[in-house]
């Protein structure tokens, strides 16, 4: 039960953190889904490196944390890209 909660919490933290928010913002910068994918993946990789793990205690970033961050970053960027295509003419 705790591991499921842990997973849901990690996903929620990523959605409300840099991968989700900056992912959408990056996605809104382009009309091309492939470019959005690359930008989303990049922010998904960078976010845990910059903010993940625990710098004060040298706790490493886990593979799960990194994977979820990348997936959320990519999905958020795709959503941002759809917003751009739907809501802008340029």
């Amino acid at each position: 039960m705790l591991s499921v909660l842990d997973l849901v919490g990690t996903i929620g933290g990523a959605v409300l953190g840099l991968p989700g928010l900056v992912g959408i913002a990056f996605g809104m910068m382009t009309r091309k889904p492939l470019v959005a994918l690359v930008l989303g993946a990049a922010v998904g990789v960078l976010a845990p490196v910059l903010l993940g793990g625990s710098h004060s205690t040298d706790v490493p970033i886990t593979t799960l944390e990194m994977a979820i961050s990348v997936v959320i970053g990519v999905l958020a960027a795709q959503v941002g890209c759809v917003i751009r295509r739907r809501g802008a003419t340029v």
Binding site: L2, D6, G9, G13, L16, L18, L51, S54, V59
Partner: protein, 234 residues
Amino acid sequence: MADPNNGGPVRKRGLARLWDIIWSPTSVMSVGFLLIAGFIGGVLFWGGFNWSLELTNTEEFCVSCHTMETNLGEYRETVHYNNHSGVRAICSDCHVPHEWQYKMKAKIMAVKDVYHEIAGTISTPEKYEERRLEMAAAVWKKMKASDSRECRNCHAFEYMDFTMQETRAADNHQLAIDTNMTCIDCHQGIAHDLAPGYMEEYKHVVDTLAGTAPARDGSIDVAQIKTYLGLSAD
């Protein structure tokens, strides 16, 4: 107004109309107006969100549930509540990370507390005692995995003056540094009472995180099977 019966455009209502408005280009507002309004709206929304989040970090909020009365009483007997320096660590100082993404994770995971409050899982002292070890183990697991991150928001080996500590404390802190131990390895009952058998449970938590824990409750014990078959346990 166009008449739909005569082939004119159908006027949508409710959410469908709102959806159309959202995705229609604006013709009455400048880009500057939208940018400034969006910025101010964003600041207000984010400020309100953060403020609400901080409200859930207060001691009053944490102990507003009936099931929190037992651990509140225990915590009030400890040095983290009352001490000579006047510094107090409240619930969120030990149980909620400071880092944004981990704070959000903790808040989302805390939804289970609301569920158990409603379900009455620990609504009586007997039920509470039955679950005490399990609840403590869940917190120990998080603390051990994060190298006692929340403890270290206030405490750090680097800032300790061992000459001002009791000899026993100074010796053990030096030992902890030398052997790479973390706060929760020794301070399991620092704010709440300990359940019988807590040392065995803590060892199981440590072994689980290290991937060397034996299986429990009749589930498959791979290490035992390997030993039986004469294979290396690794």
